[in-house]
């Protein structure tokens, strides 16, 4: 049963086999959780939002027309629900999302001390949490979900060019910090 494609499972759920929806949940819960957690930066809230996302997706299955891949459709729900949560928390997400003109300064947030135990992996993970939510979402969708820039554009309702700009900026910011903090010693 676990080898079935998303579409086969959805067809089965639509036929009334509600229990099969658990396979979809198991398939996407961790990836979606990672994305939501990066947007909300709060584990408890992320779990609540994720539950709502799966319920929303279930209720919307009848309207899913298979024009996009299920994962793209589902992650659009996840992304929008997480953004709604952020708005509900009265954060000024519009400023963050509205343009690519916005800048972030990772260095000012940089509290990572280079110690004997520190490594590149923990550096990247910590910095990923510091990135603005739209940038960390792009990185999460690109690297963790292995989505193409077109799919990410669909999920985030933005152009492919914007996705690429955000992806490049995030990488550049991390790289600049890597060079500045001399973590390159580990690479070479």
């Amino acid at each position: 049963m676990k080898d079935l494609t998303d579409l086969e499972i959805i067809a089965s759920v639509k036929r009334g086999n509600q229990a099969d929806y658990a396979i979809i949940i198991d398939r996407y819960k961790n990836k979606a959780f990672s994305l939501i957690k990066r947007i909300l930066k709060n584990e408890m809230e992320a779990e609540e939002v994720l539950q709502d996302c799966f319920l929303k997706a279930y209720n919307g299955l009848r309207s899913y027309r298979q024009e996009a891949k299920f994962s793209t459709w589902f992650f659009r729900i996840v992304y929008n629900t997480a953004l709604s949560k952020v708005s509900a928390r009265k954060r000024k997400i519009e400023n963050e999302m509205s343009s690519l003109e916005d800048h972030f300064n990772l260095e000012s947030d940089y509290d990572y001390q280079v110690t004997e135990n520190s490594d590149l992996s923990s550096f990247v993970n910590i910095m990923l949490q510091k990135l603005p939510s739209n940038y960390s979402s792009v990185l999460s969708l690109f690297y963790l979900n292995e989505m193409s820039c077109e799919e990410i554009g669909d999920v985030m309702n933005t152009s492919v060019a914007n996705v690429k700009v955000m992806l490049h900026r995030s990488r550049n910011a991390l790289r600049d910090l890597l060079i500045k903090k001399d973590l390159m010693r580990e690479v070479s």
Binding site: Q18, A19, Y21, A22, I25, D26, K29, N30, K31, F33, S34, K37, E47, L50, Q51, F54, L55, Y58, L120, S121, F123, V124, N125, L128, L139, S140, F142, Y143, L144, K164, L167, H168, R171, N172, L174, R175, L178, I179, M184, E186, V187, S188
Partner: protein, 175 residues
Amino acid sequence: MNLLSDEILNKYIDGDLDYASLKHVNEVLSSSVEDKKRLQALLAVHNQLKKIKEESTPNSFTNLVMKRLQSRNKAFKEQRHFVFAVSSIFISILLVIIGLIIYYGLNQSSETQSSQTYTQHIIPFFNSIAYGITQIFTPRGISVFGSVISLGILISGYFFFENLKASKQKINKSQ
């Protein structure tokens, strides 16, 4: 001095450069130590990002969502049954009214016509229906049916909102 822009380096990593650009980038990289260092750092970030691990939800997460789904579906089902029951009552009332109209109409027509052809029956039949309607919708009839329907609406409205409240409580409990 940087000879290659950040954009070019990112495109190099993503494999978005055409053959000519790629050749140029490779030439620059072989001669520029600074650009090579920037590319290596960018590649290090890229490779590290590829290794980021997904966050894990609690073990009971799937069961929790499935439980919420089941209780929500149950509540919806109960609501559907209730709406069906209320509609059935209203349809029954409507059928009774129509039945009474036809009954009055047929009684009237059987008194006035006994030996007419089929086509000759049509106009008198409708006349008799109209007669039935006038019999039912007399001022007294209207007030009786109006009262019955109003009572029905009040009772079903009460139960509908009670049902809705109970369903919401059930859903909230399951959360």
